[in-house]
């Protein structure tokens, strides 16, 4: 027995495909950054809603048999599978067993499989006892028709939806931050209700025909203190009425207290909740910008392309500037971009992130650059530097582009004086605003242009000026490449021409890819 378990555990912990399968399932179920999780979630929500609808409809109307089968076999089976998968991915037992085996071999002591299994199972059981796991388990049951009482478990299918309602999670999270106040309140409520209920029972049990048990009296007390007042039970003696007056007043006090506690909890957490939402929203995009600092540069950046920059988030440390950005209608988060935790919240694995370091301070910009690169080297960093001396440092820090505002402006002035006509033309080309522009054509594997020789493509016929090929970092830019150069997957072609010529060229040669 022991041998068998060990054998299985070792095999599993060695098997790559088992590990990848497990991590795939884990990602798809639990990792909000996984792009496919959305679809799993949506289908489960669909099953929940249909099954709840069927169960409710069934109460009064007969339903066709196939629908019942769908509910019993399909939905319940899927929920069962989901539950089992969740339990499965929660903890890894096999590596624990394998580790224990290795240790015992190494130390030469007896191999104690029971202890390890116990520890592993313990973790699973711990998971099974969490509220969401219990809900998942109970949500499987309504399928069992013969026992009608089991239908009450349909409620758990509704509860299952809670997993997908982020606002509910946040709600409980907010409330749990005020646990102490709310517990005090609850305790006070229980105390008042019990006291009043017992008092009324003792005083009116003989005279009041509606009060037959302490439960009736306590029920009355709760209905009264909550200011609901059904009126099915009411005090008949003066003493009883006095008690109700007292608990009505204390009830009002308690309700207002509870309301204020909850409201203050929310207003404290509101900013945080908003920020979480912004991050979640931005992480769903395939490509987005993170802009550090809300200063003049950022304002100008947005002013130039009003409404065109959609997927972005601004990180700003200064509360005043954050406020200003909010007023201007931007998605802003009050966070320190130089902290590792801040940047690691963003989905750097699945999305293409470009980070703009636009603060005034070189030290801060370099720090943010390093931070971004340490979170993921895939993040593209465009950093602002104050002077040319800083460029080396930024390059060392890994910035992909370095922007020197004063140098850009100085060069502009110099060109405006020394080459006034060319200045305008070249400026228009670079900005893409004039009739001609320089554009980049990205070659992909399945493009027609890929694997073709340079002289096979007649750029002139398209009224384009072919400037060169950029093959990526580490390759020098090929200015006027030789006629025998072959276009490769990943090449970027630089061409100059009118926008329509470039578009036409892309249409012809990129065909299906666009």
């Amino acid at each position: 027995m022991k041998r068998l378990i060990l054998k299985i555990a070792l095999a599993l912990s060695r098997s790559e495909s088992y590990k990848t399968a497990k991590s795939f399932v884990r990602n798809i179920l639990n990792n909000p950054l996984n792009p496919y999780k959305k679809y799993v979630d949506l289908s489960i929500i669909f099953f929940i809603i249909t099954s709840v609808f069927i169960l409710v409809y069934e109460v009064k109307h007969p339903v066709p048999e196939w629908i019942e089968y769908y509910d019993i076999y399909v939905v319940s089976a899927i929920f069962l599978i989901e539950y089992l998968l969740r339990v499965w991915v929660h903890a890894d037992i096999s590596p624990m067993v394998a580790e224990e085996y290795r240790q015992s071999e190494f130390l030469g002591r007896e191999f104690r499989i029971k202890k390890v299994l116990k520890k592993g199972l313990r973790q699973k059981v711990d998971y099974m006892l969490t509220p969401s796991a219990i809900i998942d388990l109970l949500a499987i049951f309504p399928a069992y028709r013969p026992l009608r009482i089991l239908r009450i478990f349909v409620l758990f299918r509704v509860f299952k939806l809670l997993r997908y309602a982020k606002s509910i999670n946040q709600f409980t999270h907010v409330l749990s931050s005020k646990r102490f106040e709310l517990l005090t309140l609850l305790f006070l409520l229980v105390f008042v209700v019990m006291t009043a209920g017992i008092a009324l029972y003792v005083i009116e049990e003989q005279v009041n025909p509606y009060i037959e048990s302490p439960f009736d009296a306590i029920y009355w007390a709760l209905v009264t203190i909550s200011t609901v007042g059904y009126g099915d039970i009411f005090p008949v003696t003066d003493v009883g009425r006095t008690i109700s007056m007292v608990i009505i007043i204390s009830g009002i006090a308690m309700i207002s207290f509870a309301t204020s506690v909850i409201v203050s909890a929310f207003s404290e957490k509101l900013v945080e909740l908003k920020e979480v939402r912004i991050i979640e929203k931005i992480n769903k995009n395939k490509e987005f910008l993170i802009i550090c600092g809300y200063g003049q540069m950022t304002k100008m950046f947005f002013a130039q392309n009003e409404g065109q920059i959609q997927n972005y988030v601004i990180l700003e440390n200064n509360p005043l500037k954050v406020h200003q950005a909010q007023k201007d209608g931007f998605d802003v988060i009050q966070e320190d971009a130089s902290r590792y935790e801040t940047l690691s919240k963003f989905n750097a694995i699945h999305a293409k992130i470009t980070l703009l370091c636009l603060t005034r301070n070189d030290v801060e910009n370099i720090y943010i650059t390093l931070n971004a690169k340490s979170v993921s080297s895939k993040i593209d960093v465009i950093a602002r530097a104050s002077s040319r001396e800083m460029v080396k440092k930024f390059e060392r820090a890994g910035a992909d582009h370095i922007l020197l505002p004063s140098e850009v402006a100085d060069t502009m002035i110099r060109t405006a004086i020394s080459h006034p006509t060319m200045y305008k033309a070249v400026h228009a080309i670079l900005a893409g605003k004039g009739i001609a522009r320089i554009d980049e054509i990205h070659v992909l594997e399945h493009d027609m242009i890929c694997k073709k020789r340079v002289d096979q493509i007649d750029f002139k016929a398209f009224k384009l000026l072919f400037i060169g090929i950029y093959r990526g970092k580490g390759y020098p830019f090929m200015f006027i490449p030789s006629a025998y150069e072959i276009f490769q997957d990943g090449d970027v072609l630089l061409v100059m021409g009118q926008e329509m010529s470039i578009d036409y060229f892309k249409d012809i040669y990129q065909g299906s890819s666009r």
């Binding site: 850009v408 100085d410 980049e440 200015f479 100059m496």
Partner: protein, 240 residues
């Protein structure tokens, strides 16, 4: 193209004045430096500028004494924003026909400088933000051509005027193979069309003439060689 009589008056030799002064003198301009701060003026003298003045720029009489001619270009790049706006305003009222260029360090100043009468205002933030947009849209191009007249990058633009008797005279722009010289023709400035810029890719086959200025893109060495070739062949003319 650069008339010897035209001078550049550089007001301010600080953060911006220094690199601009250096660049313009490399381009062959005669620079006059005007400063209100003795330390900066001293710096300019050290950097080799001969014509430097220490002037209270808020005083119109002092400005009048500077001997500014109508064809001179005035560049206002004082470190103090407020002074810069004031100076632009004074210069505009004193010298109607001069071209005034100003640099602006903030969004608010740009508007004021324009109102003060500057012919061209370079807004530091505007040009930088522009640059960011082009980095985002066309990263390779921007990296390659960053500071297209700057000297630290390999590929740049160059204006070349075709002199009398050059071999390019009478050549059709579409038919001539510029690539054999390692350069590409981007466009030309046509005198007949009132100094407007004509792009090479508009599809118009243009006959080059002496006096036209062509704009080429290429590596520094090849551009130099090509420029020499154009100027040298003044007598010959049958090389191609």
């Amino acid at each position: 193209m650069i008339s010897s009589s035209s001078r550049v008056f550089l007001f301010g030799y600080g953060n911006h004045g220094k690199p601009i002064g250096k660049g313009l003198s490399e381009d062959g301009f005669y620079i006059v430096i005007v400063e209100s701060d003795e330390k900066n003026r001293q710096q300019a003298v050290e950097d080799g500028f001969e014509d430097t003045y220490l002037v209270d720029v808020t005083n119109d009489e002092h400005l009048m004494k500077l001997d500014i001619k109508p064809e001179d270009q005035l560049v206002c790049v004082m470190d103090d924003e407020h002074l810069n706006v004031f100076l632009t305003l004074s210069l505009r009222s004193l010298f109607e026909s001069c071209t005034i260029l100003s640099i602006s360090d903030s969004i608010h100043t740009t508007q004021k400088l324009k109102m003060a009468g500057a012919d061209k205002v370079i807004d530091l933030y505007e040009v930088s933000a522009n640059r960011i947009h082009s980095i985002l849209k066309r990263p390779v191009t921007t990296k390659l051509l960053e500071g297209f007249v700057g000297d630290q990058h390999e590929i740049s633009f160059r204006e070349i005027m075709i002199p009398e008797g050059s071999f390019l005279r009478g050549v059709m722009s579409d038919e001539y193979n510029f690539e054999q010289h390692g350069v590409l023709l981007v466009g030309m400035i046509d005198q007949e069309l009132g100094n407007s810029f004509v792009f090479a890719t508009t599809g118009i086959n243009h006959k080059l003439d002496s006096g036209d200025t062509i704009v080429c893109i290429g590596r520094e060495e090849e551009l130099n060689a090509f420029e020499n070739l154009i100027i040298q062949t003044e007598e010959g003319g049958d090389r191609s």
